[in-house]
């Protein structure tokens, strides 16, 4: 397995830096303190030039000699230690395993270092932000929750994976797709189509849509996990492929698109590596039911939550483009949302045979 040792040691160095904070502070007779960037909407700005969400400069201090923070500080150091252990052993692990690894009873007490996983998960995110590393770089993985199929050859752990020869099921995208783990050997596709729903991805895969239109089909089964987003980004960046996003016509679909395009609020610090500012929204648009003749009765009434969410989207700075304001307002005024699956009302293969071909031909997408 070809790793870049320099990169890994950099992460390790950063983790060891946590210990240095404590040691230096102790030598100077100061309270050991970590400055952790704030992860919330208030500390996120939209960089219009780059087209991504960026994390602001606000940081919160976490110091050891503070009754309220002492435990959290101790836990943070403990998690850093566990992450460093992973680096040195060159293993990857899950969030839950980190929790179990760091849990023990503190000497001379009944107290556990951690009581539930809810305590350790945010600490890992804290460290990601503070040390400016990706979760993948920290060797913490999530479940494989995405699939890819298309004219693409990958090398995973030294195994050659030809995504054109994997039947309908495709290749399950691992959660860590950094170049040191997954190499893109060959890619002859013209574009990437990222589908929100697994069901529709299956439809396209079964119909061999990718073969006819020479594209890579990706899905994340809902909100795409990091692995899928990162793979799309790499295909976009390294192979210069345009990325099209196909989601349901509802506020959540819009948001999924925006996460792919600009990054998410919670993990804004990762947009640098994850976001694809040039990604295009291919559908389902609120104008589609009319232009494609979808009957009104396959729509679903927007509920209060949907409406509230849509209004929120309208206020986000990265949804201020005129076309987007129109798109969202049109959905609100119709009072209906449409699922991708609703296209089956016209024909089982409507998506493959009519909808997408026409969209691509007419270049009917939003930016």
């Amino acid at each position: 397995m070809a790793r870049k040792p320099r990169r890994t040691s950099a992460v390790e160095k950063k983790l060891v830096g946590v210990a240095d904070v404590v040691i230096t502070a102790a030598q100077r007779y100061r309270d050991p303190t970590l400055a952790i960037p704030v992860r919330s909407l208030s500390n996120v700005t939209f960089n219009e030039r780059k087209g991504l969400l960026e994390m602001g400069k606000r940081r919160q201090a976490r110091s050891f000699f503070n009754v309220g923070m002492a435990k959290k500080f101790m836990q943070t150091v403990l998690v850093a230690d566990a992450l460093c252990e992973l680096q040195r052993a060159d293993l990857t692990t899950s969030l839950r395993e980190i929790y179990y690894r760091t849990k023990h009873t503190i000497k001379n007490s009944h107290e556990n270092t951690l009581d539930t996983q809810d305590e350790s998960d945010p600490l890992i995110e804290d460290l990601e932000v503070t040390l400016e590393t990706l979760r993948e770089e920290l060797h913490v993985r999530a479940e494989n929750a995405g699939s890819v199929v298309g004219p693409l050859v990958l090398v995973d752990d030294g195994d050659r994976v030809d995504c054109a020869r994997l039947g309908k099921g495709g290749y399950s995208v691992p959660s860590i797709v950094e170049p040191e783990y997954l190499q893109i050997k060959k890619c002859t596709a013209d574009f990437v189509l990222l589908v929100e729903k697994g069901t529709q991805w299956n439809r396209l895969s079964e119909d061999k849509f990718w073969r006819k239109y020479n594209c890579i089909l990706l899905t994340g089964n809902g909100q795409p996990p990091r692995g899928v987003r990162r793979l799309a980004r790499r295909l976009h960046e390294e192979k210069r492929l345009p990325v099209y996003v196909l989601v349901d016509n509802d506020p959540w679909g819009y948001y999924i698109y925006s996460v792919i395009k600009q990054g998410s609020i919670n993990l804004a610090f990762e947009s640098q590596r994850m976001a694809i500012p040039k990604a295009k929204f291919i559908g389902l648009s609120s104008g589609d039911p009319e232009s494609y003749g979808l009957p009104r009765n396959v729509g679903i009434k927007l509920n209060d939550k949907d409406i509230a969410r849509a209004r929120e989207l309208l206020s986000y700075t990265w949804f201020q483009k005129k076309s987007w304001q129109e798109e969202i307002k049109r959905m609100l005024s119709s009072g209906l949302k449409y699922e991708l699956d609703a296209l089956a009302n016209k024909d089982f293969q409507y998506l493959t045979k009519k909808y997408l071909p026409r969209k691509l031909k007419e270049k009917d997408w939003l930016d």
Binding site: A19, P32, M74, A80, T116
Partner: protein, 653 residues
């Protein structure tokens, strides 16, 4: 109903159906129902619904009677309760399997004169307590004879009574049964016998029952009786062959309650009519003034004036609408609350002694409310509270320390709900908890304000026993079996107020504990975590860290930030526990802030009679009423009092 009328012009219609039963026949079927017959069919009304409860009810009735008799005669009660399993044929089965029991209750009371023995034990609604307003355990004169009747119904055995009124008098032995049709006693056997006790009564009944420990068992009843009656010496011989001695812990009889006349607010119209007929007075004003409490002759005249009746009218001639106007006039006149010397509450000290003796805990408190009135009946509410697990289990948990906690577990499993123990006139109430006003008041109290967890609509959570006692001349039970107190607003209010006071004191205690705890924690928190942080840093640095040095540096900082040794002193970390307080504090109204406090010493000390000799109470006859002065004892002695030896009064050693 009668016959149907035939319509005059009908064709041969079928003859009208003959009435099934004629009025004459029906009339012939009507006859009087005797109380005893009624209760044989409705035994659940008296607490004999199932064998287990029946056994308890029988014990309870006999003990109640014994205690009432002793107290009324001014004798410190010494009661022996014996419950034995009885064989149905062969050898007696083990207690848990047996279905028949012999209950024997012996007291050192005044005894019963020969003529009264049969009706007391074998005639329902015969007794001394119903017609007067005086606080006592029994009320209606049903209890013991009903128990006897139950035994008779289920086993066919008569009630056996031995009684002696003084050492000079002979002891009489009776075997009686109840004639359920006539509600009259039948004497099966009577004779004079030799009896070892110089004075007292012994009742033996054989009943069908079931013996099972736990909630609402005979054992629980005995234990709860001890809490509310620390002046009683009680020996319990259980069906399993154990002997449990509960020595007297409070050597004063409760003040003897006075008998009072009814208060005008407490009677109903029907009662008034009856009293008008029965009175010995010759004038209405005289009747009002002499037959009621708190009605002065002047007030009586006022009432008559309001009712527009002549004060000189003969009570017996008050007919028609007059009694009703009189009744209304009474209700609209302002009359002083009834006297309260008819009540004999347990008292805070005695209650505290009882709780302390019977329940393990860290904190005890007791509250007696001032007397209040419902429907013209005076009553007093007393509440007590025992909190905590006591020092010994805590020591155990200290040993258990190293067991690590799993996810979802907490330090202490506090899921245990508080226990409510209820009393009416010193008798524990073991059934129908949720129907009782006391239970409702406990639920209504917001225990969270006092630092105790409580889920919505549930009892508070924690190692806690809540004690509530209602003393009254007439306790309003929801049924004849005396299991739950009816929900009168006045009663509920008093209970709530008493509980709140208990809660406030508990809150103060808990806050104090917590303060000590948090200071302690604050101090410890850094010390605990420093170790972890240093270890982690060492591992991060690849094990090449001078850990001792880093630890020392951090500890120095921690010490500086928590005030160092000064805090040590403040925290009393010199062995005596947080803030120098002992494990258990007893808070009494005399001293909530009491330092190393604790009175209640008399628990095992025994009242010392004026000449200083240890008091042998039983035969001494004259109990020391309010003579023994309570002594305050220090913590060390208290601990000694807790040791197994505490079962024996020290005075006797």
């Amino acid at each position: 109903m009668g016959g149907m009328r035939k319509s005059p012009r009908t064709q041969p219609t079928p003859p009208p159906p003959k009435p099934a039963v004629s009025a004459v026949e029906m009339g012939a079927r009507q006859r009087e129902i005797s109380v005893s017959e009624f209760f044989t069919k409705n035994r659940h009304l008296l607490g004999f619904d199932n064998p287990r409860k029946a056994l308890l009810t029988c014990v309870k009735e006999a003990v109640d009677n014994a205690l009432d008799a002793c107290e009324e005669a001014g004798i410190l009660p010494d009661v022996v309760v014996k419950v034995e399993a009885v064989a149905n044929g062969d050898a007696p089965p083990p207690a848990s399997q047996a279905s028949r029991f012999r209950i024997t209750v012996t007291d050192n009371g005044p005894g019963i004169i020969r003529q009264q023995i049969p009706p007391i034990f074998a005639k329902l609604l015969y007794g001394s307590k119903f017609h007067r307003l005086r606080m006592s355990r029994g009320q209606q004169g049903i209890g013991i004879s009903a128990a006897g009747m139950y035994g008779q119904l289920t086993t066919g055995k008569p009630v056996q009574i031995t009684s002696r009124t003084s050492a000079r008098a002979p002891a009489h032995y009776f075997e009686v049964q109840i004639d359920t049709k006539k509600n009259e006693p039948q004497i099966l056997e009577k004779k004079q016998i030799a009896w070892e006790s110089p004075r007292g009564t012994q009742v033996t009944m054989e009943v069908e029952g079931r013996y099972q420990k736990g909630r609402a068992s005979v054992d629980e009843y005995i234990e709860q009786t001890i809490i509310a009656n620390p002046h009683v010496k009680l020996t319990y011989l259980s069906p399993e062959g154990e002997t449990k001695e509960h020595p007297r812990t409070y050597h004063e009889l409760p003040p003897s309650p006075r008998e009072i006349k009814p208060h005008p607010y407490g009677i109903e119209l029907g009662m008034l009519l009856k009293m008008l007929q029965d009175t010995k007075s010759h004038s209405l004003a005289g009747f009002l003034a002499s037959d009621f409490s708190r009605v002065s002759p002047r007030l009586a005249e006022d009432i008559c004036k309001t009712a527009r009746l002549s004060p000189r009218a003969r009570p017996r001639d008050t007919h028609g609408p007059a009694p009703e106007t009189l009744y209304k006039a009474i209700q609209s006149t302002k009359i002083m609350a009834p006297p309260t010397n008819c009540l004999s509450p347990i008292g805070e000290k005695a209650l505290l002694a009882g709780l302390y003796r019977q329940i393990k805990g860290d904190f005890y408190t007791a509250v007696s409310r001032p007397p209040a009135v419902y429907r013209g009946n005076p009553f007093v509410i007393e509440a007590g509270l025992a909190y905590g697990r006591g020092p010994s289990p805590e020591a155990e948990s200290q040993e258990k320390k190293p067991i690590p906690l799993a996810e979802g577990e907490t330090q202490q499993d506090d899921a245990e709900l508080a226990r409510v123990i209820r009393y009416a006139n010193r008798v524990p109430l073991l059934y129908q908890q949720s129907a009782c006003v006391i239970y409702k008041a406990v639920l209504d109290t917001t225990w969270r304000n006092y630092g105790v967890a409580q889920s919505r609509g549930a009892l508070p959570t924690g190692p806690m026993v809540i004690f509530v006692h209602m003393a009254s001349v007439w306790v309003p039970f929801t049924s004849e079996s005396k299991e739950a107190i009816a929900d009168y607003d006045e009663i509920r209010k008093e209970v709530t107020l008493a509980l709140r006071e208990c809660g406030r004191r508990l809150g103060a205690f808990l806050r104090r504990l917590e303060r000590a705890d948090s200071e302690h924690r604050r101090r410890n928190i850094f010390e605990l975590y420093i170790e972890e942080v240093v270890e982690s840093c060492n591992r991060l640095k690849g094990g090449r860290l001078p850990t001792a040095k880093l630890k020392e540096q951090l500890q120095k900082m921690a010490l500086k930030r928590t005030g160092g040794e000064k805090t040590d002193e403040l925290l009393g970390k010199n062995g005596s526990g947080p803030e120098g307080l002992p494990h258990s504090i007893i808070v009494t109204p005399e001293g909530i802030e009491g330092e190393v406090p604790v009175l209640v010493g008399e628990a095992s000390g025994g009242a010392v009679s004026p000449n200083g000799a240890p008091k042998e109470d039983e035969e001494a006859g004259e109990p020391s009423r309010r003579s023994g002065k309570t002594r305050h004892r220090a913590k060390g002695k208290r601990e000694a009092a807790r040791s197994p030896a505490r079962a024996r009064p020290r005075g006797k050693a």
